[in-house]
């Protein structure tokens, strides 16, 4: 029985090492190939060479963004699935990225928060876009909580209504695009929704890293036992001295914080929040002691891998990571669902 535990620890440790190992590899791949040891040298001793500029200004930033954003999205998905007791729960199915998209569109179009300049979006004020994305995420969280607590909807009904609301956000987004016929602005929004790690700036990345390390990652990890507890029902949770409502509320807010930050800086990123926890569960089982860190690491790995492949596959053109992560994550999940045949996934 101890071997089983050790096996999980071994896989988890391997995945953590793999994540660190993938950083220089991913940095090295691309239109401009860089040898492995040069990358290590430049990472630890930056200079003024072209090499250093490519590593620091182009590659490293997006790889680090993939790692942190993948981690918080994967963790958010696992935490939301547990706290809502629903396999379909994730920032994505709760409509958070769609709400954030609308917020970003409004800030870009109406408040002139940014514009497109030769294939990249120039954000005039780096804080107006994320603030709007965050506000719209909060509106969506507020709607979810209102539906959950005031209307008393079950988690299943909550997801259904969130998906419906997502369509409404998209409808409003289309409406905005319809009236702001300026094709540059419309393409700005469309380009934004593609989800591209390359557009994150260092200052934005720093913000993501600080919030991830200070709030999101420790919160989800420290709640691991409570997520195990809440799976067995609200009544048992209450009788063990823990408030299920509080866990749900806090988890939703922390996940919203993570998702809105990620979405506002890099755009809509596919199913990472839905796919990573399920893959993690099929590998590590249901205990959140392993499931939460595993979902985070798998989120990081899938996102980094997707971004790297997207950058290399038809270089010099880059396929946005939002597209690549869905194309890679979804078949992987379905393969594991069929292969795994574990309880709760098969009749």
């Amino acid at each position: 029985m101890r071997n089983y535990k050790r096996q999980k620890q071994l896989i988890l440790t391997t995945l953590i090492f793999l994540t660190f190992f993938i950083i220089p590899i991913s940095v090295g791949l691309g239109w401009y190939k860089i040898p492995f040891f040069d990358i290590i040298r430049v990472i630890f001793m930056p200079d003024n060479s072209v090499l250093s500029t490519i590593v620091w200004d182009l590659r490293l930033r997006r790889v680090l963004a993939a790692i942190f954003i993948g981690a918080v999205l994967g963790g958010s998905g696992a935490a939301m699935q547990a706290s809502m007791r629903n396999y379909l729960a994730s920032p994505f199915t709760f409509g958070l990225p769609f709400a954030a998209s609308l917020g970003v569109a409004i800030s870009l179009l109406i408040l002139h928060g940014g514009e497109i300049q030769r294939f990249r979006i120039l954000v005039h004020n780096p804080f107006i876009v994320p603030i709007f994305a965050f506000i719209f995420c909060l509106i969506q969280v507020f709607i979810i909580l209102l539906l959950a607590h005031k209307a008393g909807l079950s988690a299943g009904a909550l997801i259904l209504s969130s998906i419906a609301i997502s369509f409404a956000y998209q409808a409003i987004l289309y409406l905005l695009q319809y009236f702001y016929l300026n094709e540059i602005l419309v393409s700005t929004v469309i380009f934004w929704t593609f989800g591209d790690l390359g557009r994150i700036a260092w200052i934005e990345l720093n913000l993501v890293v600080i919030v991830s390390i200070a709030i999101v990652i420790p919160y989800f990890i420290l709640r691991s036992l409570d997520y195990d507890l809440i799976l067995s029902g609200d009544e048992l949770t209450k009788s063990t001295g823990v408030s299920p409502q509080r866990i749900r509320l806090e988890t939703t807010i922390v996940a919203a914080l993570a998702t809105s930050l990620a979405t506002s800086f890099v755009g809509v990123i596919g199913f990472i929040g839905l796919v990573a926890p399920h893959i993690a569960r099929l590998v590590f089982g249901g205990g959140h002691r392993y499931l939460i860190p595993a979902s985070m690491i798998l989120g990081s790995l899938i996102l980094t891998l997707s971004d790297t492949i997207g950058r290399v596959i038809i270089a010099p053109v880059t396929i946005p990571v939002g597209i690549m992560s869905s194309l890679i994550g979804v078949p992987l999940l379905i393969y594991l669902l069929i292969k795994g045949g574990m309880h709760g996934y098969r009749d």
Binding site: S224, D228, L236, S239, T240, G285, G344
Partner: protein, 253 residues
């Protein structure tokens, strides 16, 4: 370890429906109190009130003469071990992880070595150590019930609150669970359980509380409560009691 639970004149309403209407009881360590009564009599509600999950409209629950609302939530959780009628099965939780959640009232951040030892101790008591790594979904009904009891025991409770611990189990498992409950009594725990099977209540209980429509219809020693007249008054079913075998059975069907 001395523990005494006193429930004084508790009233609970679900909207305008009276779920409990002036219920009182008392149990101390080394005693089994069975709560019996027809469906909807308020058995589960009473357990929730004792556990502090449900606040009564009126009346007080005392643990060692201290009113429940004066005791921190965490301390109540440490003192009581709850075995609900059913739990949700999802998420492929392992038996180990599930039983560890019973240690939650003692854990602030992350489980320690002591918590791990208590989990194995609890699993040993219910003889479930062999399936520590299985998921809850993989267990049979009897195994699952033992694991749920282990979860409650992991929290080192002084009072066990069990809701229909033997329903949905076959005869062998019913016996196993009842023997387990009896062994917990001899360990000095106070046990309050809601139970449907009158014979079982008769055999294991020190006290029986008969609820009907939220009111205490009869309370006392098993022999005083479990007689044909009281049972007929509450259930409307004629029964016979065979005292030599402590057996209660219906006359018809």
């Amino acid at each position: 370890m001395v523990i005494e639970i006193n429930v004084k004149d508790v009233k609970v309403y679900y909207k305008s429906i009276k779920a409990l209407d002036g219920v009182s009881l008392s149990v101390h360590n080394g005693e089994i109190l069975s709560i019996i009564g027809p469906n909807g009599a308020g058995k589960s509600t009473l357990l929730k009130v004792i556990n502090g999950v449900l606040k009564p409209r009126m009346g007080v629950v005392f643990i060692n003469e201290k009113p429940l609302e004066k005791i921190p939530r965490k301390e109540i959780a440490q003192k009581t071990g709850v075995v609900p009628q059913r739990i949700r099965l999802m998420g492929m939780l392992s038996v180990y992880d599930f039983v560890m959640t019973g240690r939650r009232p003692y854990i602030n951040f992350t489980p320690s070595k002591i918590d791990e030892e208590k989990v194995y101790e609890a699993l040993k008591i219910v003889d479930a150590i062999d399936f520590v790594d299985r998921t809850l979904e993989e267990l049979s009904g009897g195994e699952l019930q033992r694991v749920i009891i282990a979860r409650a025991l992991a929290g080192e409770p002084e009072v066990m609150l069990l809701d229909e611990p033997t329903s949905n189990l076959d005869l062998k498992y019913q016996l196993e669970i009842l023997n387990l409950i009896k062994s917990l009594r001899s360990k000095g725990l106070a046990i309050i359980m809601a139970i449907h099977d009158l014979t079982q209540a008769y055999r294991v209980s020190d006290k029986v509380l008969l609820l009907n429509k939220g009111k205490v219809f009869a309370a006392g020693e098993p022999d005083d409560v479990l007689n044909p007249k009281t049972i007929f008054d509450v259930y409307g079913v004629p029964i016979i009691v065979i005292k030599d075998y402590k057996l209660i059975t219906t006359l018809e069907v």
